[in-house]
Every structure is written in structure tokens, then in C-alpha cells.
């Protein structure tokens, strides 16, 4: 210890510190940095990377596997794009992104409570609604990097059997480029929609797994829901933007999906509303770790 010799801190006065937006931006960036370091650089991150790369492994499998005659698995690019559409809607969207958002967003606050570290933020000059936004941005940064990345890489893996020139042609002059951007956009919007839902579930519930399972059931049975109830689901707004929709089977209640513009605006408004509620919830949040 060297307390006696250490100089008194020559700190800046409060007047010299930023306030308003410059302060909030700096605080959001700090929270994001802390969460990125914690989530993506720790030992636990290996499991996250393994799960996020599952679609890439599946697509690699489709590249490497040949038909008995030595031909590629997909006869043409259209077949390959249809196969990717199926993988995206089943494995990526309803599997990896959904459960990834459950894991990341529900733990943004619940994880801090379980680690007994939420007070670190609440004892700083950080407005609680700003903390909600910062945590949401953290979750989005992580999930976008992982899931948009895995979506784009998986999509690009449809091209190797057809060669570089076909790939460039399809991406820049054919439907490939547009579809790839659409899938990336869908992954981005799915993270926003599911992320906001699971973040507030993590604030409301000590164990968000049960309500997350209920949301999963609701989303999975979406195709059976009457038109009014379909609107209360994230997948309803995403479906209208999927480049190659899948058949939902003979029992599906078929409705026209909303226009793309309405889907995007609707999801964003929904997420802002949920974040506003989360901001109100965190205002009344008390640190009583023993109860949690």
C-alpha cells in the first residue's frame, strides 16, 4: 500500500465534463465495450461462436456432399437459393437467431443481477433509460455481428459449386445480391424485434426461460393463428420480407403479409414501445440481490 505517498487526484470539475447527448453517447459506447469484452472475448464465447456457425457448417456440408454421379447437390443456383431459404427460415431465423436473442438479450440485465454486478452501472452518473438503450445496443451489436455475419457467409456458400464468375454474375446482375441483402436485413430486424422482447422479459422475470418458451410456442404456431392474432408476433412482420417464402402446410391460415415498408416501421415502433416500457421498469428497479 502506498496511500500516504499517493497524490490527491486532480480530477476535472463537473462543469468540464460533457452532458446531454455527448455524455450519453460516451456512456453507451462504454457499456457496449464492457459487454463486448465480456461476451465475445471470454471462454464462454467459444460456445456462442460454435452455435452461431452452425448454419455455416450446414451450408459447407451442402457444398462438399456430391450426388452419386459426382454432381453437385444442387443442379442450379435457383435450387441452391431455395435450399438456403429453407435453412434460413428454419435453422437461422427460428433457431439460431431466436434462441441467440433469448440468450443474449434476456441476460443483459438478468445476467448482471445473477453476477451481482448491476450496481456497477447504477452507481455511476448514468441515467437508467440510457442504460436500457446502452444494453440494447450492446445486444444488437453482438447479435448483428454474429447472426448477420453467419447469414451472409452461409448465403455465400451456395456459390462454390458454380464457380466465381457465376457467383459474381448472380450477386451483381442476378437476384443473388438482393436476396443476400434481404436475408441480412431480416436477421437485423429479427434481432431488433426479438431482442426488445427478450430484454424486457429479462427485466420482468427472474427466470426468463419459461416466458421465452411461451414466445417460441406463439411464434411457432403463428401459421395457425387468426389474422388478428398474427399481428402480435415478430415473425408476421418478417415473413413479408423473405425473398423465397416456404409453404406453411395445408392447415395454415393464409393471410397477405404486410407491405415491406409497414413491416419495417411496425417492427421498429414495436421495439421502441417495448424499450420505453423497459425504461420505466428499470426506473423502479431496486438492487436486492439476495432476493434474486
Amino acid at each position: 500500500m502506498s496511500t500516504a505517498q499517493a497524490p490527491a487526484p486532480a480530477s476535472l470539475s463537473s462543469a468540464q465534463l460533457p452532458s446531454g447527448w455527448p455524455l450519453w453517447v460516451r456512456q453507451v459506447l462504454t457499456v457496449v465495450r464492457i459487454d463486448l469484452r465480456k461476451t465475445l472475448l471470454g471462454r464462454r464465447s467459444l460456445l456462442i461462436y460454435a452455435i452461431a456457425s452452425l448454419p455455416i457448417v450446414v451450408m459447407l456440408f451442402t457444398v462438399l456432399v456430391k450426388r452419386p454421379g459426382g454432381e453437385a447437390l444442387f443442379a442450379n443456383l435457383a435450387d441452391a437459393r431455395r435450399a438456403f431459404a429453407m435453412i434460413f427460415q428454419t435453422l437461422i431465423l427460428r433457431g439460431i437467431i431466436f434462441f441467440g436473442c433469448v440468450a443474449f438479450f434476456s441476460n443483459l440485465f438478468r445476467g448482471e443481477v445473477l453476477d451481482r454486478s448491476l450496481h456497477y452501472y447504477l452507481l455511476s452518473p448514468l441515467r437508467r433509460p440510457v442504460l436500457v438503450i446502452a444494453k440494447f445496443v450492446s445486444g444488437l451489436t453482438i447479435t448483428w455481428v454474429l447472426f448477420m455475419g453467419t447469414t451472409v457467409i452461409s448465403f455465400l456458400l451456395i456459390y462454390p459449386p458454380f464457380g466465381v464468375s457465376r457467383a459474381i454474375e448472380d450477386l451483381f446482375n442476378g437476384p443473388g445480391g438482393g436476396q443476400m441483402l434481404a436475408y441480412a436485413g431480416l436477421a437485423m430486424l429479427a434481432c431488433i424485434g426479438y431482442g426488445s422482447v427478450f430484454m424486457i422479459l429479462g427485466l420482468w422475470f427472474k427466470n426468463p426461460v419459461v416466458p421465452a418458451a411461451a414466445v417460441f410456442g406463439w411464434e411457432a404456431l403463428h401459421f395457425l393463428l387468426p389474422p388478428m392474432l398474427k399481428r402480435i408476433s415478430v415473425i408476421h412482420y418478417l415473413k413479408g420480407m423473405i425473398p423465397i417464402p416456404m409453404s406453411e402446410g395445408p392447415f395454415a391460415v393464409v393471410t397477405d403479409p404486410p407491405p415491406v415498408f409497414l413491416s419495417i416501421v411496425g417492427l421498429l415502433i414495436f421495439s421502441v414501445a417495448v424499450l420505453t416500457i423497459a425504461g420505466l421498469v428499470i426506473q423502479r428497479f431496486e438492487i436486492k440481490y439476495a432476493d434474486d
Binding site: M1, S2, T3, A4, A6, P7, A8, P9, A10, S11, L12, S14, L17, P18, S19, P22, L23, R26, Q27, T30, V31, R33, I34, R37, K38, L41, G42, E112, D115, R116, S117, H119, Y120, Y121, L122, L123, S124, P125, L126, R127, R128, R284, E286, I287, K288, Y289
Partner: protein
């Protein structure tokens, strides 16, 4: 309550209930700069009081102001307040340096200032060498010091320290206490909670005694003593024949209680009229032909005052640490000695 000023920490009729469980009840305090210690056994409401001040929990009723600011104003409040919590937990994976620098970044300091202030703070709590190690690998004392470093890093005007000396070795305690004194001399509020009473004796300008959620006394140590003057004073008398002395005293004096010391070489007694007792004791010793070895009040320090006030509530709880040997003896004596008489 004193008139409101912006230089004090004020609590007006503050209560906190956890459901039906009382945290603190109807607390009125006006705390001025200097070192103020909140003393009470575990579960008495010390941490509740500190968490209320920091806004980590909200009062069920009442109002709190720290230098004129309410806990619901974190942007302004935490520029003035540094809080070293009792929670021995940290954001996962952080090093000591990151723990302080990230906290300063949340304050909005520019990167160059964050770097400078982090190093200054690490140096003040003697953690520079271990700063790049993960906190998860720190000893209890190191974790305590890095928390103190965080609380001090932004040079706050109010330091709220919940059991800050826990886990520190004697040398580190002495140095940290020196640090508190240095802060208090600079005109800061240093609010310390502790159940280690002899430490409070040493460092406090004033004390707040809390028991079962109620403030039972507050003020400067002498003032607190006067506040309980109507309570019987405890006196220790050492002599060759303590049982005979005890019988003689009981026969002639208005003591409220007498106990034999466990070593058999003295008595503890309580009286409401201490000066009169000392006068009469001299006469009694001469009359009885007793040999007196020593006599004197046994409650000149904070521990004794505290025991007067809350010992009945906390006896046997085992959560008050007596590290002064003589007081430990007295405590043992009080608990285990033979009670010869009670008039109260």
C-alpha cells in the same frame, strides 16, 4: 432537523420496508462533513441506509438529499458521490484497471483523463502492480481495495463506504483509515458503516447507532454518551474479596446490578449515580477493611456506549466484533458472571 443546506446529507422521516420486513424506520438525519460512522450489528439496517442514499433502493416513505441532490438524479449525484458497496462482486472478466477506467468512462471523462485518474486511484489504494490481473483472482483484501479505488477515482465530495475495512490486514487498515482522515480533512463527507466497534472509536468524528432499523443515538461520541446518561453507568472494581465487597455495596448503595468478574478478582456494577458511588465506595472500603486494587468506569469507549444502547437486542447474536481484549473480558464477564443482585 436543521435548516436545509446543500452541504449536508439529509434524511427526513425515511422508512424502508421489504414487504412486511422493516429495513429502517423513520430515520431523520442531518450529516455534516467529516467522518460519520453508522454502527450496528448485522441486519440492523446499515446497508439499507447506505443503499437508500445511493438510490439502489427507494424509500417506502420519506425524503433523502445528498448535498441538495436526490438519488433520482444520478447524473448529478454520482459526480459527487463515491460508493464502496458491501457487494463482493464485479462485472465478469474485468481487470482491476478496467474496473476503474470503465467506471470513469461512464462518468464521461475523456480517454486521457480516464487513464490519468485510473493510475492515480490505483496508486492511492496500492493496486498498481496488480491492476492488470483479473479481479476474480484477487484476494478479499485486494477486492476491497479496488472497490475503494473505484469509489475514490472521480474525487467525490461524499464517500459512502459500506464495511470498507472488511478483509484488510492491519497495516492496510491503518493506511486506508489514514486515507479516510485525509478525505475528511479536505472537507468531504465520509460515511462509514461498520460493526467493528473499536475502529469506529478510532476514526469517527461522530457516530450513528442503529439497531433493528431504528436510529438509537447519533452525534459526537461525547454527545452520544450524554444522551444515554440516564442509563446506569458500568463500573469495574478490582479487589481481594469481591464477593464481600459486592454484599457490602448491595447493602448500602443504590446500584442496579452487580456481577462477579469471571477471574474472581473483581466486580462489575451498574449505577445511576456514579460520582456519589465513588464517594461512598471510599468510605465503605475503610469501614469494611477491604483492599482495593483498582476502580473506574468500564464504558468510556464506543463499545460500551453501544452495548448500553443495543446490547439487549444483539447479545448472543455474535455479529459484533470485540477486538479489544479488555472489553472482551468485560463482555464475557457480563454474560457469564454470577449476578448477585438486581434492583432495576
Amino acid at each position: 432537523m436543521k435548516a436545509a443546506t446543500t452541504q449536508t446529507i439529509q434524511l427526513e422521516n425515511v422508512s424502508k420496508f421489504y414487504g412486511e420486513v422493516l429495513g429502517v424506520n423513520r430515520v431523520d438525519l442531518d450529516i455534516e462533513p467529516g467522518i460519520t460512522s453508522i454502527v450496528g450489528p448485522n441486519g440492523s439496517g446499515k446497508t439499507t441506509l447506505m443503499n437508500l442514499l445511493a438510490g439502489l433502493i427507494r424509500p417506502t416513505q420519506g425524503r433523502l438529499r445528498i448535498l441538495g441532490l436526490e438519488p433520482s438524479q444520478p447524473e448529478d449525484l454520482f459526480r459527487l458521490v463515491g460508493y464502496c458497496t458491501q457487494f463482493d462482486s464485479f462485472p465478469r472478466g474485468m481487470t482491476g484497471r478496467q474496473f476503474i477506467s470503465s467506471f470513469l468512462s461512464l462518468h464521461g471523462y475523456a480517454p486521457a483523463d480516464v487513464k490519468r485518474m485510473t493510475e492515480e486511484s490505483l496508486e492511492r489504494v496500492g493496486m498498481t502492480e496488480a491492476a492488470n490481473r483479473r479481479i476474480a483472482g484477487y484476494s478479499k483484501g485486494m477486492r476491497q481495495r479496488i472497490k475503494l479505488g473505484q469509489a475514490l477515482a472521480h474525487d467525490p465530495q461524499v464517500l459512502v463506504l459500506d464495511e470498507p475495512l472488511n478483509g484488510l490486514d492491519p497495516m492496510a487498515r491503518a493506511e486506508i483509515i489514514g486515507l479516510f482522515r485525509e478525505q475528511a480533512e479536505r472537507g468531504l463527507h465520509v460515511l462509514i458503516s461498520s460493526h467493528i466497534l473499536h475502529e469506529v472509536d478510532m476514526i469517527s468524528d461522530r457516530v450513528i447507532l442503529i439497531s433493528h432499523g431504528y436510529i438509537v443515538a447519533e452525534g459526537e461520541i461525547q454527545g452520544v454518551r450524554e444522551e444515554v446518561q440516564e442509563r446506569p453507568m458500568q463500573i469495574m472494581v478490582r479487589c481481594s474479596e469481591p464477593r464481600r465487597l459486592a454484599r457490602a455495596i448491595l447493602a448500602r448503595d443504590s446500584v442496579t446490578e452487580i456481577q462477579l468478574h469471571k477471574d474472581g478478582a473483581g466486580i462489575h456494577l451498574r449505577t445511576r449515580d456514579s460520582s456519589g458511588f465513588f464517594d461512598r465506595l471510599a468510605e465503605l472500603v475503610v469501614e469494611e477493611g477491604l483492599e482495593l486494587e483498582s476502580m473506574g468506569p468500564a464504558d468510556d469507549n464506543m463499545q460500551a456506549v453501544y452495548r448500553y444502547l443495543v446490547a439487549d437486542d444483539s447479545s448472543g447474536s455474535g455479529d459484533i466484533e470485540f477486538s479489544d481484549d479488555s472489553m472482551a473480558d468485560r463482555a464475557d464477564s457480563g454474560d457469564g458472571g454470577d449476578t448477585l443482585g438486581e434492583e432495576d
